[in-house]
């Protein structure tokens, strides 16, 4: 049995998997807040990893009907992410591995998102491409073999796609988190009403969403408050279409340049039905894991850990978090 821990950003997550990669449980922090505080949920925001992580681990073990003694290894996210959050997961994982005398495996968060593709419930083997589009990341991975040595075909040069959704929603006054709100608003609008940029100047399979965000801002300013509110559905629909078109165009370019035709789609943006439909309509053979494995979770970290080596004893204890993924580092 593998215990996996993920604390790279907002959520404290733990999961239990069998040594062949079947997920027995996958728990996130919000699920234990009620257990901890009873009916009275305090004003607790995300990122209370120090308080939440051990209860999350306990619940993951309980849901899998196993005890600590059944564990054979611990997998943990090393980065990229918020260092202060990652360190809580790392310290917990090191402590458990040392206390139980079992090996520790360090997993890259983005490798986790790629490995989540194997949790889609359909047979999938390399070669495949993986579009990871979330609030913090947007990239296309080329997975030629199992393991962490996939290459990056394209990545965002500024904002992530999920962030583009959220900032668009913010500009339109829809609230936060804005992705689902913007998608809902877009359903009643005309995607051709406004002509928003598709980052034509960005070459290859790289993404750019900063210019799009600015053009929405200008469109709203030019319309004035009353008209912008009246035409909110059209603005949302046209803005969403610009994001989706860019995702589809870059994935299509990546398929053409690599000759790999199967594309897995992960990250929170995979929950957007317009994005899934757009990719499918472009003739892409799409594999999408269940939503709970698209947003941040520990099951994907456990699945990825099947593809990395145990850390030697000394390296396990000195393991440090890292914040950013540079293209060179990948």
């Amino acid at each position: 049995m593998i215990l996996a821990i993920e604390t790279s950003c907002d959520d404290s997550c733990a999961a239990v998997l069998t040594s062949s990669g079947d997920v027995l449980s996958s728990v996130v922090g919000s699920q234990v807040i009620h257990d901890l505080y009873g009916g009275v949920v305090p004003e607790i925001a995300a990122r209370h990893h120090l308080e939440l992580l051990l209860p999350v681990v306990e619940r993951a073990l309980a849901e899998a009907s196993i005890g600590l003694a059944d564990l054979e290894s611990v997998a943990v996210t090393q980065g990229p992410g918020l260092v202060g959050a990652l360190l809580v997961g790392l310290a917990t994982a090191k402590g458990l591995a040392a206390g139980l005398g079992i090996p520790l495996r360090a997993v890259d968060h983005l490798h986790g998102h790629v490995a989540a593709s194997y949790l889609a419930g359909v047979p999938l083997e390399p070669p495949f491409l993986c579009l990871v589009a979330s609030g913090g990341h947007t990239l296309i991975a080329n997975v030629q073999e199992p393991g962490p040595n996939w290459s990056v075909v394209g990545t965002t040069i500024d904002d992530a796609a999920g962030e583009a959704f959220d900032k668009g929603a913010r500009i339109l006054g829809l609230g936060y988190p804005g992705g689902p709100l913007l998608e809902e608003q877009a359903k009643a609008g005309d995607p051709d009403a406004f002509d928003f940029p598709r980052a034509k100047g960005v070459a290859g399979a790289d993404f750019s969403f900063a210019g799009l965000k600015t053009s929405l801002l200008y469109a709203v300013r030019d319309l004035g408050e009353a008209d912008a509110t009246a035409r909110r559905a059209d603005l949302a629909a046209s803005y969403q279409a610009a994001i989706v078109d860019q995702l589809v165009e870059r994935v299509t370019r990546a398929v053409d340049s690599t000759g790999v035709s199967v594309v897995a789609f992960g990250g929170g943006v995979a929950a957007n039905s317009s994005a899934r439909l757009g990719l499918t309509a472009a003739g892409i053979k799409l594999v999408v894991p269940p939503r709970k494995y698209c947003t941040d979770n520990a099951a994907m970290i456990g699945r990825a850990s099947l593809e990395v080596q145990d850390l030697p004893h000394d390296a396990a204890f000195s393991l440090d978090a890292y914040s950013t993924a540079t293209r060179a580092g990948r």
């Binding site: 305090p42 209370h48 990893h49 992410g81 918020l82 202060g84 500024d158 914040s323």
Partner: protein, 144 residues
């Protein structure tokens, strides 16, 4: 660089160049607050600062991660965006960002008003303003 700096840039490239020049003034422990609307060029200016410090990595938005670290330059940099936090970091584990404010680093903070009052002690304030199209007014004040 003579402060305050108050000038107009006409392209993202020019805004980035202001950041690079500003970076030459920085010492360890400097804390820079960045003010300006969405799309006013805060991330572009941060990219310039990082380039000026010799950081070659892609500079991406920290809105979701809250903080991105860049370690390979003349000074280590933490780039923060506190937008997703409640005012005064209410309900938040304060320890989660502690390391970003180490005196060994240069800390660049967007949405500084979400940080607990008085906790930031900024040494520079950068204000960016849309002037329409690609034009931006850039104001840099030294506060120390």
């Amino acid at each position: 660089m003579e402060f305050p700096v108050d000038l107009k840039t006409t392209s993202p490239r020019e805004t980035e160049a202001v950041g690079s020049e500003l970076a030459e003034c920085f010492v360890a422990g400097d804390r820079v607050i960045l003010e300006g609307d969405l799309g006013s060029g805060k991330t572009v200016l941060v990219r310039g600062i990082c380039r000026g410090l010799g950081i070659a990595a892609d500079i991406t938005s920290p809105t979701f991660t809250l903080a991105q670290r860049y370690e390979e330059g003349r000074l280590p940099v933490s780039h923060l965006d506190l937008y997703r936090l409640e005012p005064g970091m209410a309900g938040e584990d304060p320890g989660v960002l502690e390391g970003e404010f180490s005196t060994e680093r240069v800390t660049l903070v967007e949405w500084p008003e979400r940080a607990p009052l008085g906790a930031l002690q900024p040494t520079y304030r950068v204000s960016l303003q849309h002037l329409g199209g690609d034009e931006r007014q850039v104001l840099v004040e030294c506060l120390s």
